[in-house]
Amino acid sequence: MSDLRDSFFQECDDLMEVLNDGLTALDEGDCDPETINAMFRSVHSIKGGAGAFGLDALVGFSHAMENLLDDVRSGAVTPNAQVTSLLFVASDHLSDLIDHDREGTTADMSRAEAILNDLRNLSTAPAPAAPGELSAEEQEAAAAFQPLVLDLGLDLGPDIGADPGADPDPALTPAPTPGPHPGLDADLPDLGPFRDDGAARPMVITFSASEDLYRTGNDPALLFRALKALGDLTVTADDSQLPPLAELDAATSYLTWRLQLDPAEGVTPDTVEGVFEFVDGICTYDISDAPPVICEPPAAASPDAQPPAAAQPAPDTPAAPPPAADGPASSGASSSRSSASSRSTIRVELHKVDRLINLVGELVIGEAMLRQSMSEQGLTSHGEVDVAMGQLRQLSGFLQESVMTIRAQPVRGLFHRISRIAREAGREAGKSLKLVTVGEATELDKTVTERLTEPLTHMVRNAVDHGLERPENRIEAGKPERGTITLSAAHRSGRVLITLSDDGGGIDRARVRRVAEEKGLISPDDDLSDSDIDNLLFLPGFSTNAEVSKLSGRGVGMDVVRSEINALGGRVSLQSQPGEGTTVTISLPLTLAVLEGMIVTVAGETMVVPTSALRETFRTDEAAIHDFGADARVLAVHDGYVPIVDLGAALGFREEPDTITRQSLLLIENETGERTALIVDAIQGQHEVVIKGLEQNYHQVPGIAAATILGDGNIALIVDTDQLMSSQPPVTRAVADKPAEVPFRSAQACPAQ
């Protein structure tokens, strides 16, 4: 039962997502009937499932919501702004109710009453639904929410078997191949919640008898007669295997039957199965739904390969298979599980995926080790070895890529949560706002998505609370009364950028500066640029709001956002235009597990520079390097000059070299477009490396993002280029005599970067 409940609540999450998608579309003026239908169906399914589990509060509430949606669908109610916003509120509450029921806690009924009243006032349906209508719907909906029942039916062997298992010659009857693994086919339709539970659906039964069946005195005709008692039966015999008369062996079974049964009321697949109970093991039979009832055939399977060819004997059949049919029968059995699955998704425990990812990571390391030792042995020049190694490398690359995509999921769910928070924040702050989301389909590692909720929540509250002006001030400034907050996600050069921008008043820099001075974070004579001042917001404990507001003044500031994002390997930056708004940009790695990096050597150490930050490489003896001042150098690139930093010195491995000879320069760029050229001793090549965090056994190291294990088993550190740049003032050689203290001043110690 708890399994059923769990799957109900999981379905609810999906359904809520559909509902939210629909609402967002509706809010944007898209009144496509299909959208409204989809929303209606979602709420209806939630209601049905809730009814099945006796979750009365949920049933009542979703019923009221359903009525309103039905009115919208029928055109009795126009989906104007009032209706949409009520639906938003109701959907938020519905989601709360679901959460409460999931946790087994009680929801705040007073709030529900208010929303219910609003819903009833708007909808034309009678407040308590007519009993007859309700119960009919209830039943239908309850049935719609029994995925387990559906699965059970399938497990019992609903797919048809055309497996002529009794045929003595396996060569004549190739093992049934049910398409390319239908169970693994991601395109299989999700029959899930909207499918009726079909006890009384037409079924197709394929039946073939083994010699033993006849030998033990059974007769197929008797079985068919028994089946006929269960409903309308059409029997077709397949005599295609029948040999010419001269070759006919009287003791061999050649015939296969295809039976279409239109079962009478109350006949379940179990009942049908019962007919075959006494011939179990001496015949091969399969029971499945008749083709027209099966929704969409899998795209990958050819149409005629559908039910009849998606063969599989009933799971228990092979227990005592007819001797001659051993081959085909067992191969048919092996495919039974996969063809029984009709869902397009499976839920897998995360740790299993993680284990797989770790193993693939080790495989990639192993492959690299093999490649390295082969090149040391001089084996790579041999053609065949080379080809095989190339194949292995490609395959392990594909494998890794595929495994990584398992964890990736669209940010849609996260965005919905954030939109909801924005709506609530707007209500609490008395500000009318619209949240626009862009790029919801952008995929991101699941862990990253989960851990983004908190920082984004805080950011969106900030945007509502501090970013957007009060409605009267907005009108005064000539802006629409309703503020707009845009939340977008996009891929950009191997990273995911998430931006949250508002069209508010921008950062009040004078005030930020004043507050920072009052709090002693900066001194009044610090010379700060605009972006320096904006970055003060990221300092711990900084809060500009004079009266601590209910929304965002909770003792956590943007510094928490920054440290959360940093912990994910991401970066936060902030741009603000006075009077036009503020944009906060989060840049995140696509995955937490692998990284494409340039392997370099510095001061005898091997290090990895992430290629996502890398723009260009130069040879020092060919590059245009100019001394700058007493102790700095710059590199001339086509559009300007870039400071040069010695990576070894920056990490405290060595003193800044006086002269640069025969070394390499890596031009790196951070998210905001700032560039720095890093001096390294040599570039070894580009590799994909598996990230091994340092926090587990040690702690974060400034300037180092993580470690990795190289092909030879040695550890190489992965350089955190952004941190290296942001904490590395361009000119630092003045303190080069104390290398250990030079490079990394944290944001706290150095607010003005």
């Binding site: 091994k692 056994n697 040690y698 974060q700 190291v701 180092i704 470690a707 040695n714």
Partner: protein, 168 residues
């Protein structure tokens, strides 16, 4: 074990009822650092490995020798001699690393040589003599007398490098 640290040392000869806990047997791994004998409780020891070259960690305290790869796990190695104020270890292939697990972290302790595994009664541990230097004392829980030699019991929790002083 923590109870024995606060227990008065008069307990063991008297065999009073209160020192029953002190009779519990525990196993210790003894090893040499800077020609002196030390030990840690065996439950902290995962395995013992020969010295291999480590990867230097930037901005690490001097007693953190670097990072080593233990079958895919990256862990820091600590020069126990330097940590105890006994001078930097000049590593040779004969040095060993004791892989320890403490406070949910795995780390390597670089020592000269592992000597033995001994069973001791908790009550046999004596308080650290006052003569030890403060730096050493901070890492020593107490001492055992084993076959006329002195074995210093290391408090592994104190040896773990702390993250303080670093930016988050």
């Amino acid at each position: 074990m923590s109870s024995t640290m606060t227990e008065p040392q008069t307990a063991s000869p008297e065999h009073s009822a209160t020192d029953r806990a002190g009779d519990d047997l525990s196993e210790i791994v003894t090893f040499a650092v800077g020609k002196q004998g030390f030990c840690i409780e065996i439950e902290h020891v995962l395995e013992i490995r020969g010295w291999t070259k480590t990867t230097v960690l930037p901005h690490a305290p001097d007693y953190v020798v670097g990072l080593m790869n233990l079958r895919g796990t990256v862990l820091p190695v600590i020069d126990l001699s330097l940590r105890l104020g006994l001078g930097k270890t000049e590593t040779t292939p004969r040095h060993v690393i004791i892989i320890t697990h403490v406070q949910d972290r795995t780390l390597g302790l670089l020592v000269e040589a592992v000597s033995d595994i001994l069973s001791v009664r908790d009550g046999e541990m004596k308080p650290t003599p006052d003569v030890a230097s403060p730096q050493t004392r901070a890492f020593i829980r107490g001492v055992y007398s084993v076959a006329e030699s002195l074995v210093r019991a290391i408090d592994v929790h104190q040896v773990v490098p702390k993250a303080d002083g670093l930016a988050a």
